[in-house]
């Protein structure tokens, strides 16, 4: 099996990574299928943590609801494992350091996980997990933030695997009205630090945090290599969206990304967003 990075680089289109909170509903893995059907290039699955330091209210609520209905990390991993056999797109786990370090890379790999995002594990703390992940064949995806200075950006770019997660804004996850200017600027800076923009070492740069509408996705796709969309989708699921409903929303993002359309197009309607 090729690495997550190789898979993504091979996609040849703006990348779309929808996020699903593991264990959010009894049928939560059906949402994974819906994402793949709608054209996701990979799927990020959140392992709910009691103390999600970097999450905004929507993902907090999704995590709380999953834990409240009795979801366990073990149970969610079993769901991932089954899904990884069924689905062709790579599955990425996002969770906080306390859970990630406890689980360890081998156990995640055994569940078919191909990438790992740990938002509270900065460079200085990640060396051991980087090594273990590499050993287990998992790409440890590092995050870059608007506040990250150039020398750190270079280091993040150097050590990140799979892609570089460009945090769009100084803030938590959560929907926003517009794509922040800081996102575009950050992507520009990361790309500037790509050792060879077209070489084999080139890592995709994806924008996450607050990408809320197809228009914003298209804009982000033009600036970088793709988007991660979480709160905008999980809000729908919290409000009762079925896997079919989610498929429509993800498809709208897919189309917007692919066409690279600018804001003001009818995709807002396709996505069900009528703000």
């Amino acid at each position: 099996m090729s690495t997550l990075g190789a898979t993504l680089r091979a996609a040849g289109r703006p990348l779309l990574i929808p996020y699903v909170t593991g264990g959010l509903t009894a049928n939560w893995t059906d949402y994974l299928d819906a994402c793949q059907d709608a054209g996701a290039d990979a799927i990020e699955i959140g392992l709910p943590f009691s103390d999600p330091m970097l999450d905004g209210t929507t993902i907090q609520r999704a995590s709380d609801r999953a834990l409240a209905r009795g979801a366990t990390i073990g149970g969610i991993l079993a769901g991932i494992e089954a899904a990884s056999r069924r689905l062709s797109v790579p599955l990425i786990v996002m969770t906080y350091a306390n859970l990630a370090l406890r689980l360890g890379a081998p156990r995640l790999a055994a569940a078919g996980v191909r990438g790992l995002i740990v938002p509270d594990l900065p460079l200085e703390e990640s060396a051991a997990l980087e090594a273990a992940a590499a050993e287990a064949g998992i790409d440890l995806i590092l995050l870059a933030a608007p506040s990250t200075p150039d020398d750190r950006l270079r280091e993040i770019r150097r050590r990140s695997r799979g892609f570089v997660y460009a945090v769009s804004v100084m803030g938590t996850t959560g929907e926003r009205d517009t794509l922040p200017a800081t996102a575009v600027e950050l992507v520009r800076r990361v790309k500037h630090h790509q050792p060879d923009p077209d070489g084999p070492e080139r890592l995709p740069v994806l924008i996450g945090f607050g990408v809320s509408t197809p228009e914003q996705a298209a804009e982000a796709g033009r600036a970088g290599d793709g988007v991660i969309v979480a709160s905008a989708l999980m809000r729908r699921v919290l409000d009762g969206a079925t896997p079919d409903d989610l498929r429509v929303a993800v498809a709208a993002l897919r189309t917007a990304l692919d066409l690279g359309v600018s804001s003001g197009t009818p995709y807002a309607e396709v996505s069900g967003d009528r703000r």
Binding site: M53, N98, R102, D120, E124, A145
Partner: protein, 397 residues
């Protein structure tokens, strides 16, 4: 154990296997800048002089060392109380906050945010913000807002905004998450004024240094008061562990036994396992999968599933020991100290008293022992809570 404990934890912020800086990349530069600013300020005699001035002239330091004459006689020990309850705003929290607010001003920040449990740290933060002309926002769990209504009003009166936190257990741990989140969004002009020796590096180190004044004063005062110069036992309550850390810092280089007392329902050292929460690795109450547990204590300030990483190191190294007492023992301790010495202490501080009451005369604390106990705060903030409970049970407290 050597003298190297309770020193500078260096750039990585490690206390043995504990500590570190487990924060979002967005916050790393802020933490680094803070570390650098603190390191520089702490080496600057002008900064130290200024802090000393505010401690003395404004906060009422040095605080008294009061022999607990009556309890000592009853218990057959010599019990000395380090009176942080006499500090301005009513607890040791002001020591840390004055330091951080001065530092924030030096860094050009115009706003403080803080988490609070009992409200004492929030009140202290609001106080320092008022004094130094900074804006202040305090995050407080909804449950704690109910338990500590007086402190909420005090913060408002001081001009701070108090934001209720409704997620998770709606106590200190969730308020801390929220403050961290808000810091990410406001890091440009805002200093996160963290209230205990927890959180990412440099907080555990910096807060311990700002609280060190407790231990250093107490050390000097004990030297004058005790024929042995140093007490046999030094005891303090532990939530995040800042009053204990500040106290221990004065005695870690002596032969004194160091005892931290946790709430039975929030005993990270006794019932916890290593884990990562609020930005550092330490002992944490958590389940098998790593979900953080909700603490349960009558004292809002100890209702916390973690503990500062340096305590985890001190405990692992055997240099300090950590004990637990129950809510019931704490209520008895509040009443007994009040009646014996005329001092109404905070529910948090009463944990240390409760351990002394239980241990005195046993092998744990034999007759004739000399004990320094840090009374971290006064009980005014707890009077509504206690009188409601008394109304239920039909007696005072």
């Amino acid at each position: 154990m050597t003298m190297s404990v309770m020193r500078d934890p260096a750039a990585a912020g490690r206390f043995g296997a504990f500590g570190g800086r487990f924060v979002p990349e967005s916050l790393v530069p802020a933490c680094e800048a803070l570390e650098e600013a603190f390191r520089e300020a702490w080496a600057d005699p002008a900064f130290r002089g200024q802090l000393d001035m505010f401690r003395t002239v404004y906060a009422g330091r040095p605080t008294a060392l009061t022999p607990a004459w009556n309890l000592s006689a009853e218990l057959g020990i010599t019990l000395l109380l380090k009176r942080e309850d006499l500090a301005h705003t009513g607890s040791h929290k002001i020591n840390n906050v004055l330091g951080q607010a001065l530092l924030a001003r030096r860094m050009g920040k115009t706003r403080l945010i803080a988490e609070t449990g009992a409200g004492q740290h929030g009140v202290a933060t609001a106080t320092a913000a008022a004094l130094f002309g900074l804006r202040a926002t305090v995050y407080m769990g909804e449950r704690d807002i109910e338990r500590q209504a007086l402190n909420v009003f005090r913060m408002t009166l001081l001009g701070a905004e108090v934001v209720p936190v409704t997620s998770g257990s709606r106590t200190l741990k969730d308020a801390t998450n929220e403050a961290l989140r808000q810091w990410v969004a406001a890091v440009e002009d805002t200093h996160f004024c963290l209230g205990s020796v927890a959180g990412p590096h440099p907080y555990p180190w910096m807060v311990r240094e700002f609280q060190r004044v407790i231990g250093e004063e107490a050390r000097r005062q004990c030297a004058a008061e005790l024929s042995t110069g140093v007490p046999d036992v030094v005891v303090a309550c532990v939530g995040g562990g800042s009053n204990a850390a500040g106290t221990f810092a004065g005695f870690v280089g002596t032969g004194a036994r160091l005892v931290g007392v946790e709430a039975a329902g929030g005993a990270a050292m006794t019932h916890g396992t290593p884990g990562i929460v609020h930005g550092s690795r330490s002992m944490v109450l958590q389940d098998d999968e790593g979900q953080i547990a909700e603490a349960q204590s009558i004292a809002a300030g100890l209702d916390y599933p973690g503990i500062g990483p340096e305590h985890a190191q001190l405990g692992a190294a055997g240099r300090a020991e950590y004990q637990t007492v129950t809510d019931g023992e704490v209520l008895t301790a509040v009443r007994r100290l009040a009646r014996a010495e005329g001092i109404i202490c905070a529910l948090e501080s009463a944990h240390a008293v409760a351990w002394v009451l239980r241990a005195a005369g046993t092998d744990e604390l034999p007759h004739g022992s000399t004990v320094l106990l840090t009374l971290s705060g006064r009980g005014d903030k707890d009077m509504i809570q206690l009188s409601d409970m008394a109304a239920l049970t039909g007696g005072p407290a």
